[in-house]
């Protein structure tokens, strides 16, 4: 199974028009690379949903969950994603009115 399972929530579901996709890979890639490749697929600058032009975290806006755990968006290039992993792209949590 040389695939990464990518699920979309909220605005990302609208962007990709599906709830999830299987992203084929031969070996592990960085999370940043995965986001860049997904962006190319959708024809959008997907990285800008997670990082500001100055490289600051946009975690007030978006989250990435890797195998059930939220990741630090400023370190996207440090996370390795490998076949069989599950990645969720989601708007951030909206609580506390």
């Amino acid at each position: 199974m040389n695939e990464i399972r990518v699920e979309f929530i909220g605005r990302f579901r609208e962007l990709f028009k599906v709830k999830s996709i299987s992203f084929p890979v031969d070996s592990s890639i960085s999370l940043l690379k995965l986001v860049e490749e997904l962006g190319k697929k959708a024809g959008v600058d997907l990285v800008s949903h997670f990082l500001s032009p100055r490289g600051e975290s946009m975690d007030e806006y978006s989250l990435i969950i890797l195998n059930g755990n939220p990741v630090d968006l400023t370190r996207l290039d440090e996370y390795d994603v490998k076949p069989g992993d599950r990645v969720v792209l989601s708007p951030s949590v909206a609580g506390g009115g």
Binding site: I9, R13, Y61, P70, P91, V93, A94, G95, G96, G97
Partner: protein
């Protein structure tokens, strides 16, 4: 000083008399408004709170706006209500929004203090300076929605805004809330029951005056910038899906409470998600007065309970849905409608019914004790009937649930206390206990009980900034800083949905100064937040609160989560103790959770240092 009306109304319900109190500059600078004013007046008016029965005439019911209400400040039209809570027996507090606060201030009042008890049902009409207690006999027994319509008709003017209680408040159900403009509530702590105990059915306000601000040109420029930021990415989540957007992301993180917090995921999450709701049930998205965000998603049921209408936010959705095993938006829409019209808090109601369902499935609550209702998880009809009985205190089940989960579990016994999910008697909101552990610390040390609105400490958990499945000493500082900031936000009072658009506390202080003309720095305003938090804690200490009360329920320590993504997650006691120590250390409190004299004196709380403070 501008922004403030400078006066508040005092209503002695026993004598049917009114008088006027003054808000001075010292009060304004030290306590800001809202939460701060509530803490100050509740502490002063109930000097021996442990001796006061919350449902007796000796309790007080205090309403405050903040300095921003009635001005053009973004999302600042909110009001707050305070009393000793009949649900928790400690500091009771709730905030609501809509148009009510704007009318309140335009009528020329910062607040209202009710004392005593009316002989027969009354409602208070405030029409600028014209204030009158009017007969409410014909309104008694009416729903909140009917009450609002009937009062407007009686007063002959649609522009009156009305805050009222439903039949639940009249019956002094401990979960009773106060509703204004149909869908906005002072939800938590059972303050609607205090209103009911005073025979006070409603408050109707119309204001025609202006609210003066100190620097109108500066304020216009500043608010224009804030409003532009409110259209940016930080608030997009609220504008499109509203808070129900949380359902799917919480489900993916294993922090969506389901089946009375037995699990952190829900197999029907997609069916009750914000995405699904927007597609199939949302009929209207509305905003509170002066709010550039507009988060309120009003649902209409489609097939089951056709015609049912309610405003469904994440907390209501999660507690009345997954927490009760319900995977139908029609049922949830109807359930919220029942709570809103009869007048109970959806969070507490969904929590206590979830508890009853677990008791029923485990054979602890018999079918007879459930009034013959088949109270299984996922049974929508059973949920709706249980809610109706709870609101009306009907039958064995209704009378049991009307007490709230802590007292209900004490009454039922048989080990059911072990899975009553609350802190200090306030039912836990929809953030899972074991998979968001900084959040759990924040809930448990809160002044109001299990409170999702006092520190925002869940944010570091969901953003991956900490290991959310562990605790350590450093989490205390996160909660401490969040609480001080949120005390400012709840005193100004602004909507927490705008918190992401303020760049710093300096901006909050600047907004305060532009409105009031009173000099304030970011450091000073955060210090005011710390003062306010400590004052409310002092009230609680007088009610008997200490370290022993600052713990999450047993489930957090004893029942590992079964869900895949967070399998086995549980809070380790030694880690929790360490985090709690870290929190008290930041606060300058004793190891037993009591504010020290030194800290209280540093905050200018001299009387409190003498009455409550302990030596370091």
């Amino acid at each position: 000083m501008k922004g403030y009306a400078g006066k508040y109304l005092i209503v002695d319900l026993s004598k049917g008399k009114t008088s006027v109190g003054r808000v001075d500059e010292s009060m304004a600078l030290n306590y800001i408004g809202g939460y701060g004013f509530g803490a100050r007046t509740l502490y002063d008016m109930l000097p021996n709170p442990a001796q006061v029965d919350p449902l007796s005439p000796e309790n007080v019911l205090i309403w405050w706006t903040g300095p921003l209400a009635g001005t053009l400040s973004s999302a600042g039209n909110k009001y707050s209500v305070f009393a000793k809570s009949p649900l928790t027996g400690i500091f009771g507090f709730g905030i609501s929004s809509g148009l009510f606060a704007s009318e309140f201030k335009s009528a020329g009042w910062d607040g209202i203090v009710f004392t005593g008890r009316a002989e027969k049902p009354v409602y208070l009409m405030v029409d600028d300076d014209n204030v009158e207690l009017r007969d409410a006999s014909q309104l008694w027994g009416r729903t909140t929605w009917e009450t609002e319509e009937m009062i407007k008709e009686e007063l002959g003017d649609e522009s009156f805004t009305v805050a009222s209680i439903g039949p639940a408040g009249e019956r002094m159900v401990k979960l009773a809330n106060i509703t204004n403009e149909r869908n906005r509530q002072v939800g938590r702590c059972g303050l609607g029951a205090v209103m009911g105990s005073k025979n006070l059915k409603a408050v109707a306000i119309r204001g025609t005056g202006d609210v003066e601000v100190a620097d109108i040109e500066g304020l216009v420029r500043f608010v224009a910038d804030l409003n532009e930021r409110c259209q940016g990415p930080a608030t997009e989540k609220y504008r499109i899906y509203g808070t129900p957007a949380n359902i799917l992301v919480h489900n993916k993180l294993g922090c969506l409470p389901s089946y009375n917090f037995q699990r952190g995921t829900f197999e029907y999450a997609e069916e009750v998600s914000g995405e699904m709701m927007l597609k199939t049930h949302v009929k209207k998205i509305i905003a509170c007065a002066g709010c550039p965000i507009a988060c309120d998603h009003v649902n209409q049921a489609r097939e089951l309970y056709s015609g049912a209408i309610s405003s469904v936010d994440y907390e209501s959705l999660a507690l009345l849905g997954p927490n009760c095993g319900i995977g139908s938006l029609d049922v949830i829409t109807k359930a919220v409608e029942i709570c809103d019209t009869l007048g109970v808090d959806t969070i507490s109601a969904g929590n206590v019914v979830g508890w009853a369902m677990e008791c029923y499935e485990k054979g602890i609550l018999s079918k007879d004790e459930a009034d013959g209702i088949d109270l299984r998880f996922g049974n929508g009809e059973a949920l709706l009937e249980a809610l109706r009985r709870l609101c009306l205190k009907e039958g064995k089940l209704g009378n049991l649930l009307a007490e709230g989960v802590r007292r209900a579990s004490q009454i039922l016994g048989r080990g059911s206390e072990r899975f009553a999910v609350h802190c200090k008697g306030l039912e836990w909101a929809a953030y899972e206990l074991r998979s968001l552990q900084t959040s759990t610390l924040g809930f448990a040390v809160s002044n109001r009980g299990a409170d999702y609105l006092r520190s925002g400490s869940y944010q570091v958990d969901v953003k991956g900034q900490v290991d959310r499945l562990r605790l350590d000493r450093s989490r205390g500082k996160i909660v401490y800083e969040g609480e001080n900031l949120y005390a400012v936000i709840d005193s100004l009072i602004i909507c927490k949905f705008t918190r992401g658009i303020f760049k710093s506390a300096d901006e909050l202080a600047r907004l305060y100064t532009l409105v009031t003309g009173l000099s304030m720095t970011g450091e000073q305003i955060i210090k005011a937040g710390e003062r306010i938090h400590n004052l409310a804690r002092c009230f609680n200490v007088k009610c008997g609160i200490s370290r022993k009360d600052d713990y999450p329920p047993p489930r957090a320590f004893e029942d590992p989560l079964p869900d895949d993504v967070v399998k086995g997650a549980v809070i380790k006691r030694e880690e929790y103790e360490e985090a709690l120590d870290g929190y008290y250390e930041c606060r300058g409190w004793s190891k037993d959770g009591i504010p020290t004299k030194r800290k209280l004196l540093e905050l200018g709380l001299v009387k409190e240092a003498e009455e409550v403070g302990v030596e370091a």
